[in-house]
């Protein structure tokens, strides 16, 4: 069996990875940290875009899968001394399993009710994080071991490279997927579910596979996050994080894989810029006030580009 060496998405991803790998040697540690965070969020959002943008569904609980990946990897590493590399695999597997089970509840529903169901499941999972003493309850996990490679323990630079290597792999895989008959069929059910069904497409199975895949992306991201931060607690994976993933997804462009990366970069970068600038003008502003702008940008994008950035671009190409 031979794999596609690189699709267009994959080739660009390799270039981006090379740029990141070079940049971390010059960037101050602070920016390297931001890059890592953008990479981790991008990974989650790529998976979410497959489920929301291509399959046309909605998930307001994606942070829960990130949390499951993070907690699984932390438990494996701290309690069972399993290397984070395997921890990431385990995190992805448990997240996938939970998504698979929950899909039987959630994916029977559509639109409004699906949004509410994923929101509710995300919050219930967060409550479990909080109440389950075995995984640290509300105080969470401390001293989660980092990734190692032989004798080398990952430093912030290595985490930046690792997270972007995962983004590259994630984009490559998703890029293959959306160009294949699998991806086309996803688009078909998002455009006309009944029409696709009349051809023999089983929308529930297709959505389920995509939902589980999005949980795998989130689970891997969570495992890397846990080792990178070396500390996690339930508040890291709250409903607000799920909302942030939706912001990244929509702002970058739902039906676009690089859109996921751009959205993650915008949400993180805009947050940093505004946190630095706004207090100069308005000293009373505190907390995550940048959310105001992100919310406004999201609404503006949906109103001005009702078919999304990708839709507008392809229209322009055809005209």
């Amino acid at each position: 069996m031979s794999f596609a060496p690189a699709n267009a998405h994959g080739r660009v991803a390799l270039v981006v990875l090379a740029v990141v790998a070079a940049a971390v040697w010059f960037l101050p540690a602070y920016y390297t940290g931001l890059l890592t965070l953008i990479g981790i969020y991008s990974l989650v959002t790529i998976g979410l875009n497959l489920f929301m943008g291509y399959a046309g569904q909605v998930s307001l609980g994606q942070a829960a899968f990130v949390g499951i990946g993070a907690y699984t990897s932390a438990v494996l590493a701290v309690d069972l001394h399993v290397t984070p590399w395997l921890g990431a695999v385990g995190g992805a597997a448990v997240a996938a399993l939970v998504a698979y089970v929950l899909s039987f509840v959630a994916l029977r529903l559509r639109e409004n009710l699906l949004a509410l169901a994923t929101l509710a499941l995300g919050i219930v999972i967060n409550v479990v994080f909080n109440e389950w003493e075995f995984i640290g309850g509300s105080s969470g996990f401390k001293d989660i071991p980092g990734f190692t490679l032989g004798a080398f323990t990952f430093d912030p630079r290595a985490y930046a490279i690792l997270s972007w290597a995962l983004v590259a792999a994630g984009i490559w895989f998703a890029g293959n997927l959306v160009r294949s008959s699998f991806g086309r069929t996803l688009i078909a059910i998002s455009a006309g579910e009944l029409g696709a069904q009349a051809l023999g497409v089983d929308p529930e199975k297709l959505k389920r596979q995509t939902f589980v895949l999005s949980a795998v992306y989130a689970g891997v991201a969570g495992a890397v996050y846990a080792s990178y931060q070396s500390y996690i607690d339930p508040s890291s994976f709250s409903f607000l994080l799920s909302v942030n993933f939706v912001l990244m997804s929509v702002i970058g462009g739902l039906r676009s894989l690089w859109g996921a990366v751009i959205g993650a970069a915008i949400v993180v970068a805009l947050g940093q810029v505004l946190q630095a600038l706004v207090p100069l003008v308005l000293p009373s502003a505190r907390g995550d006030f940048q959310q105001f702008f992100l919310g406004a940008v999201l609404i503006a994008i949906l109103i001005l580009l009702p078919r999304g950035l990708a839709g507008r671009l392809s229209e322009a190409r055809r005209a």
């Binding site: 069996m1 031979s2 794999f3 596609a4 699709n7 490559w172 895989f173 998703a174 293959n176 997927l177 160009r179 294949s180 008959s181 699998f182 991806g183 086309r184 069929t185 688009i187 078909a188 998002s190 455009a191 006309g192 009944l194 029409g195 696709a196 069904q197 009349a198 051809l199 023999g200 497409v201 089983d202 929308p203 199975k205 297709l206 596979q209 995509t210 589980v212 895949l213 039906r255 392809s314 055809r318």
Partner: protein
Amino acid sequence: MTVAVSATTLEVRGVSMRFGGVLAVDDVTFAARTGEVLGVMGPNGAGKTTLFNVISGVQRPTAGAVSLGPVPLTGHSVDRIASLGVTRTFQTPVMFWGLTVRESIAVALAAREFGGSYPPPPARALLVAGLGTQGRRRADAVLNERADALLASAGLAHMGDRATESLAFGEERLLELARALAVEPVVLLLDEPLSGLNPEEVEDVLTLVRAARTAGVAVLLVEHAVGELLSVADRVVVLDHGRKIAEGTPSAVAADPLVIDAYIGDELE
């Protein structure tokens, strides 16, 4: 036109469909044979579309059953019924916006490739597609070629690269029909495939319908344009107020006083 002697394929037995106090379909029984065009006609509100919804699995009948040969269809989902060989089109064509014309056809062909239903287990579809294995890429290239061949045979070769969003209404109808034929159905349900078309497009659709019949498909055709329907159908079933009031050759049905009464009564109402 003579009625070919051929095997019964789709059987509708005593089907009733009740919405609240309204009996939209009332104890309807008939059968369709392979390689025939069976017209389903009747005035507005006769229950034609509801009947199609019941056969294709969109709605579950309150009584009665539908089967394909020995296989019962009633109670299965739309996609399961499609994978068993019964597919349909819609009064308002369902377009897969976001895909090109060729890709729309390829979606249907992919379902066909995996035994009439999609997706197969993740290990055979999702992983293979995501990893971009050579086999999968080759298979997808073949799907594209077959889609092109199908478009050419339907006279739509020039449309392959167009976005489905850009199609005119008549083109949407033709694409939806070509898409349905791509899954190689045993039974094809066409819900008013001629409405909204210009005479040229009507001819295109009828050509496709006749070709499907020749290929052995049982085509069920709901149509308001009675003239066209009678000209293409081998047999006709007539519904009125949910009941079957006549069944037979087009000429016999057209001369049936009950049928004439139903249509004229409808005009007067």
